[in-house]
């Protein structure tokens, strides 16, 4: 057994494991223990932040699969979140559907939308593809707005907290565990896809599409599959978002939200699941950081009303800074730190990937 021997690998199965060594296993248990006690130690504010990060991480992982691995740019992410949220809202209002109906329904709607709006990717790429996915955003936002107006929910749809196995989800602590499970589940699913045939095909398409095709990869099918899986996961995140907020309104799903998700992928680090998590945390916590910084810095009070403007501007600057100076994102910084401590105290050449 590997656990009783050294860390030498004796079977190919060991290369497929996420957790192989004892140290890694201990670290995982420590992390799980920390995550389990976190909601009981954290203040209300910190718990809410954690919930927001966990929720965003589901969408970020989904977009990372599509953009960071399969190489297909999408600006339709907010539209997909809205589609999931409205599916939940409409089914709840019209049919009083429970969560175990609305969640799969959102996934199905997301999959259909992903398939439809993935079709342009067979002909377009890069910026052109991004613009075509933008259509998704506006169509969903329009339909959502129409529904709100026609049914007289002009200020939004209020949704009751969901009931899971007779347990009403209404406390932040309960939500924490649900969102943690959702995030961990999405992460595991994505990691599994990436260590098998489909994930390798996506990365191959990202790198050299024509070569992948000549090697027997059905490129159109895999592109569409990436769109379908990513969209389906995102719509489920939208559904959770609706229940989490208890409220659905088109105003929540702006184009800026799409850009924030793209920012998570870029700032976190393209082509890395850890990057999706780091990016989600960074983008969610960033405005709070700015607010905090403006509160403690000696800034004239007449400027304090401009916190949103400063927030947007700083966000833009950080995006540009990452694109220019750290294209590998937070993961790139993390890997460099790892390298540094692995080699310490010896001086090292910077390893380029």
């Amino acid at each position: 057994m590997p656990s009783s021997s050294g860390y030498f690998r004796t079977h190919y199965d060991q290369d497929l494991r996420f957790i192989d060594t004892r140290t890694q296993r201990y670290c995982l248990w420590l992390l799980l223990a920390w995550l389990a006690i976190y909601p009981f130690l954290a203040t209300e504010m910190l718990l809410d932040l954690a919930n927001q990060v966990l929720l965003a991480s589901v969408g970020a992982i989904a977009l990372m699969l599509l953009t960071g691995f399969a190489g297909q740019v999408s600006l339709g992410h907010a539209g997909l979140l809205a589609a999931g949220a409205f599916t939940a809202g409409i089914l709840f209002k019209e049919f009083a559907a429970p969560v175990w109906v609305t969640l799969p329904a959102s996934a199905a709607i997301g999959a259909v939308l992903g398939l439809l709006f993935g079709l342009p990717s067979l002909r377009l790429r890069g910026l052109y593809l991004a613009v075509s996915t933008l259509a998704l955003h506006f169509i969903v936002a329009y339909l959502g707005g129409e529904y709100e107006a026609k049914r007289g929910f002009s200020s939004g749809i209020v949704i009751d907290p969901p009931v899971l196995f007779g347990w009403v989800l209404d406390s932040a602590q309960a939500w924490y565990f649900v969102l943690l499970a959702a995030s961990a589940g999405t992460l595991l699913l994505a990691a599994n896809l990436l260590r098998s045939k489909t994930g390798r095909a996506w990365r191959a398409i990202h790198d050299r599409e024509a070569v992948a095709e000549a090697l027997g990869v059905n490129v159109p099918a895999h592109k569409l599959l990436a769109f379908v899986i990513s969209s389906s996961l995102t719509a489920m995140a939208g559904c959770l978002f609706a229940y989490f907020r208890g409220f659905v309104s088109v105003e929540a799903f702006t184009l800026f939200l799409s850009i924030q998700y793209v920012a998570m992928v870029i700032v976190g680090g393209m082509g890395s699941l850890l990057g999706a998590l780091l990016g989600a945390a960074f983008v969610v916590l960033f405005p709070y950081g700015i607010e905090w910084a403006m509160a403690i810095l000696p800034i004239p009070t007449r400027w304090s009303g401009m916190v949103f403007a400063v927030d947007y501007a700083a966000f833009g600057l950080v995006m540009i800074a990452f694109l220019l100076f750290e294209p590998q994102g937070l993961v790139g910084i993390w890997r460099r730190m790892q390298n540094y401590f692995l080699l310490w105290p010896f001086k090292q050449q910077l390893m380029r990937k």
């Binding site: 896809l193 070569v211 000549a214 027997g216 990869v217 990937k353």
Partner: protein
């Protein structure tokens, strides 16, 4: 040679024409590749050698003519389908997936042979795990064959160009092809790397019997290794036959060295 002629046909190109707009690239090209044959496709720059490979693997679509493989018509099929039928190729510039490890590159080459569904993969079911291990084992054998085992977990980008071209060779072999198309495998390699390459080509020929169409510029290498030469000039068939005869053919020399009229000789 008589034995070669009796070998069954692996791949046939029949009266093939390829045009881009008004530009005629290939004209009335017919070629037969026999089982176990190492056929070198030579010709001056721009003769259309790579275009022939691109037609076979579906990247280009010929305007007329047919390509038959295993009783199937290849013209009009998509590249990935042709690859799945068992036609693998290498690329002149390697064209490796730089961001993936050597192992992952080969596993992409094996894509068409791995039988897993996306739902099983998402859960990484027992069956998927078994498939991954099974194909890993096969890919390791191929890596061992091209002597790149030590580099299995290295990112492709960290390998030298010569190693990348060998890895490209391995990636094509990972498909377990029935026909192998080599696009200038020796281009950009030094003498040592070429000798290694020659050894691998001969080992494939003798150990697996996979028929190969080999586009090449190194005449010495071609003369020493191949069973038969097929010469293209300006997209047209010039001649074919045993290497020594073809390379001393005045028509071939004229094609390579320019318009000097050697016909009289």
């Amino acid at each position: 040679m008589a034995e070669q002629d009796l070998a069954p046909i692996a791949l046939t190109l029949d009266h093939l024409f390829l045009e881009f707009g008004g530009l005629s690239v290939l004209q009335n090209l017919s070629l037969t590749l026999r089982a176990g044959e190492l056929l070198a496709l030579i010709g001056p720059n721009g003769a259309g050698k790579t275009s022939v490979l691109n037609c076979i693997c579906g990247i280009y679509r010929p305007s007329r003519g047919s390509i038959r493989f295993a009783e199937q018509q290849l013209v009009g099929r998509l590249p990935h389908h042709i690859a799945q039928l068992g036609i693998a190729r290498t690329f002149q510039h390697g064209e490796m997936f730089q961001g993936m490890t050597v192992l992952e590159n080969l596993l992409v080459g094996r894509h068409a042979r791995i039988r897993t569904g996306v739902f099983g993969e998402a859960l990484f079911s027992r069956a998927v795990r078994a498939q991954e291990i099974l194909h890993r084992r096969r890919v390791e054998e191929i890596l061992d064959f091209v002597e790149l085992s030590a580099f299995r977990h290295r990112p492709m980008a960290s390998l030298s160009f010569a190693q990348q071209k060998l890895a490209g060779f391995a990636r094509a072999l990972a498909l377990e092809p029935k026909v192998l198309l080599l696009d200038e495998p020796s281009a950009g390699l030094n003498r040592d790397a070429r000798e290694d390459l020659a050894r691998f080509i001969l080992r494939i020929k003798h150990e697996t019997g996979i028929p190969m169409i080999w586009v090449e510029h190194d005449m010495q290498m071609v003369a020493d290794l191949s069973d038969r030469l097929y010469v293209l000039n300006h997209g047209e068939y010039l001649t074919d036959g045993a290497p020594k005869e073809v390379l001393s053919d005045p028509k071939v020399i004229a094609a390579y060295l320019g318009g000097a009229k050697h016909e009289a000789a």
